[in-house]
Symmetry: C2
Subunit: 512 residues, 2 copies
Amino acid sequence: MMQRSGRKRNKRPQTSTSLKQLPWSQVKSPYKPFEILHEGQIDAICDTAYRILEEVGMDILHAEAKEIFRKAGAQVESGGDRVRLDRGLIKDAMAQAPSSFTLHSRNPVHNLDLSLGNISFGSVASAPNVSDIEKGRRPGNQDDYRNLLKLCQSLNTVHFIAGYPVEPVDIPPRTRHLECVADMAILTDKVYHAYSLGKERITDALEITRIAHGCQNWNEFKQKVRLFTIINTSSPLRLDGVMIEGAMEMARHNQLCIITPFTLSGAMAPITVAGALAQQHAEALAGMTLLQLVAPGCPVAYGGFTSNVDMKTGSPAFGTPENAQAAMIGGQLARRVGVPYRSSNANASNCVDAQATYESQMSIWSAVMGQANMVMHGAGWLEGGLCASFEKLIIDAEMLQMMTKFLQPPEVTEASLGLDAVKDVGPGGHFFGTAHTLERYETAFYSPILSDWSNFENWEENGSKTTTERAHLIYKNILNEYEQPVFDIALKDEINDFVARRTAEGGVSGDF
Amino acid sequence: MMQRSGRKRNKRPQTSTSLKQLPWSQVKSPYKPFEILHEGQIDAICDTAYRILEEVGMDILHAEAKEIFRKAGAQVESGGDRVRLDRGLIKDAMAQAPSSFTLHSRNPVHNLDLSLGNISFGSVASAPNVSDIEKGRRPGNQDDYRNLLKLCQSLNTVHFIAGYPVEPVDIPPRTRHLECVADMAILTDKVYHAYSLGKERITDALEITRIAHGCQNWNEFKQKVRLFTIINTSSPLRLDGVMIEGAMEMARHNQLCIITPFTLSGAMAPITVAGALAQQHAEALAGMTLLQLVAPGCPVAYGGFTSNVDMKTGSPAFGTPENAQAAMIGGQLARRVGVPYRSSNANASNCVDAQATYESQMSIWSAVMGQANMVMHGAGWLEGGLCASFEKLIIDAEMLQMMTKFLQPPEVTEASLGLDAVKDVGPGGHFFGTAHTLERYETAFYSPILSDWSNFENWEENGSKTTTERAHLIYKNILNEYEQPVFDIALKDEINDFVARRTAEGGVSGDF
């Protein structure tokens, strides 16, 4: 038998003991997805997307990918990168894509089913900076990277690690992915993401994940989807070589690629929501089609990231009305294609304040009402993605828990309708002491981790702490109580050995 | 011809010139209301409500009202206040209630149509305290009262004055309503609310409103709905005498009464959402039925305010998941009855921070998705209603504008789909300079009044202002630029004369 590490043994995934959070569960919406556009309008966007791919085409910056497209019948510009795809080719390829699947974690409790109506929230990902109100804003580094991972492991509402919560620039670029992926595999037992920056990095991430999952060989590994990557197109209409390389490697290992066009309306896409979505749809289809040609039946998902830029400055804006509409319509488009859908919880505020919160709420509501299967950047994103905030992570966790509870419709039964309680209490009475209340009061309502419902005088007496200040204390507490999740020590050693060996070899060959 | 007052003459309603807000418009949702419960569950709640009224009954603390109920066939406890209502009686009475109507303002531009799908946002109302970040929290007073009215007049997204934004306790209680209603009629030209604290106050408010609308007599006045009042039940199951008196007077003048049960789940109503809603429904039906018996066909609306208390402290909580569900289901119940629906934008935070914002967003989204016709406390509410905040008012205005824009679905036309623009720009290009963009860039996207989309460096250079700090500057600017809306000087004089006369008489007879 293999030995287990961690201070506590043979236990369920750790959650910090003083944090009274909701239990782990995937969020399931019992409602129909909210639809902004009617079917005819979705038809029009899809038709425009096909025409973009047929009449304009995409630049595919990778020789092998172009060859794969050519063999499948696409029209590939001789001596160039332009690939034009016929809608018949796309439809045939996409017919192979599974409509849903399960993302497996090394701890099966944390598996994520991406079926329609199931919603999962991820961590913030890829921020170059990190901040908290104590030490301010600073460049990403390994300490903060690890602390953010620990928080995401501890918070049940963070269902997956959406990428490096912050980019640890103090680790050399050629070996950074090794330490980072190993940390995700060891410090958390949730599903995580690997960056498709060339084949080498993805190969290393696949290897660490294979070990973490205890797979003896690649055949065993491929039986389940265990790792995912986000492929951003270089909008407009371009797929970069390093991204393609990583994605093809993932597809060949039956791992999930989410194609997310970077269609900021007014800059990299048309200035209209409809036009930006048509381009988004074209780019997503092109990427997913390529992967279905590479490995028919491989898991793919549709990423929606269309927002708008501030036309005065060119800055990207998030959580805007247009962003919310695009996020919901993106879900309609993904369901039309028949693959899982990814959205985001985004905002463009420079500090953890009302704007950060209302823009995030616009994102969260649109993702949830539009039923995104995966909500990237669910917790901790600030500054349009340029900063990961410790306090925002806690605020987001509270907001995501509230949505989780909101999505559980109230029971309507004779007991819950409580006619007898009303009879007991009668006009002018109160319900505090009645049996109906006493039986239920401990679990009746959502219990917040962050919100303060005390009255003004008590709040003042307790130091007049803002939500952000309270979030600061909470994140510190969670970190203090963090314990590494249970892990076979042999597997952990194997991962560490692999990282040491690859680091000694110098890591990958390119610095990008 | 009557003379007009105000610095600028013969102009449309004033809006401050430097504020680039959305134009005045009532919000219309093109979508179906979001439904939390299915029809069978709504049936069950309605049936329980009927059983509450049949088997438990309500205490009606008003002799004339009891007599009206008795004559209509209700079972009135001899020598007591308990009134039991049969569902047949209720259904017959409610069949008289109009399903929708228009709330008329003295400026017809600001009329509000309460048809299904139309959403109107009101000011904060009835807060005993007021705050801004410069002077802190202080008891309500006339200066702040007037300033809040001026802000609500200036902000197009505030469609109506939901009550006194703050209670000006520096005005004696017996004459306070005179000055306050006159201020609403003169400083704003939007629909406003009068408190039903006995017959005298309502009579004065009706008189001021009659004058403001230039009606020569009561018959002319009654042709339109021009004033509204909120009747809170004293939950559980009690209707107070002073409220009833005011409400009956309003009904007899064909003015709107919104019956809003104060059903805080776990305290004044059952601890379950279903039970609290059944009681809410019973109380709302009882109140509306009374008014239909008093004045068949008078305008009534269904108020939903069900939230929960914090079971640890008994403090009311707002913007909770249960509050959001109850707000949406309240809309389903109101539509079942066939009358307009009122909800709220509420939160329980003690300062203008993330919690204030996310709880408000939960309220706003549920009110909008559940299609409340009137959203009370739309802008400026803090501390569970115990404080009106100048900065929160601006933050709310931004959030409400965002929802207004969100509810306008994107155009899907050949032009907006922009295939030609995509062809123009092609792979790897950018859309900033293309004709499709240049034609649209000034109006393409929602333009915020408060959100700051600048990058971190520029934001820091501009003083690292939080959203709340920016909101402070904005509200000051709006006040500086405020101009009284156009008003016939003769009518204004008549109102002022009336107020002076009634004040000289000593106002109303009771201090409550």
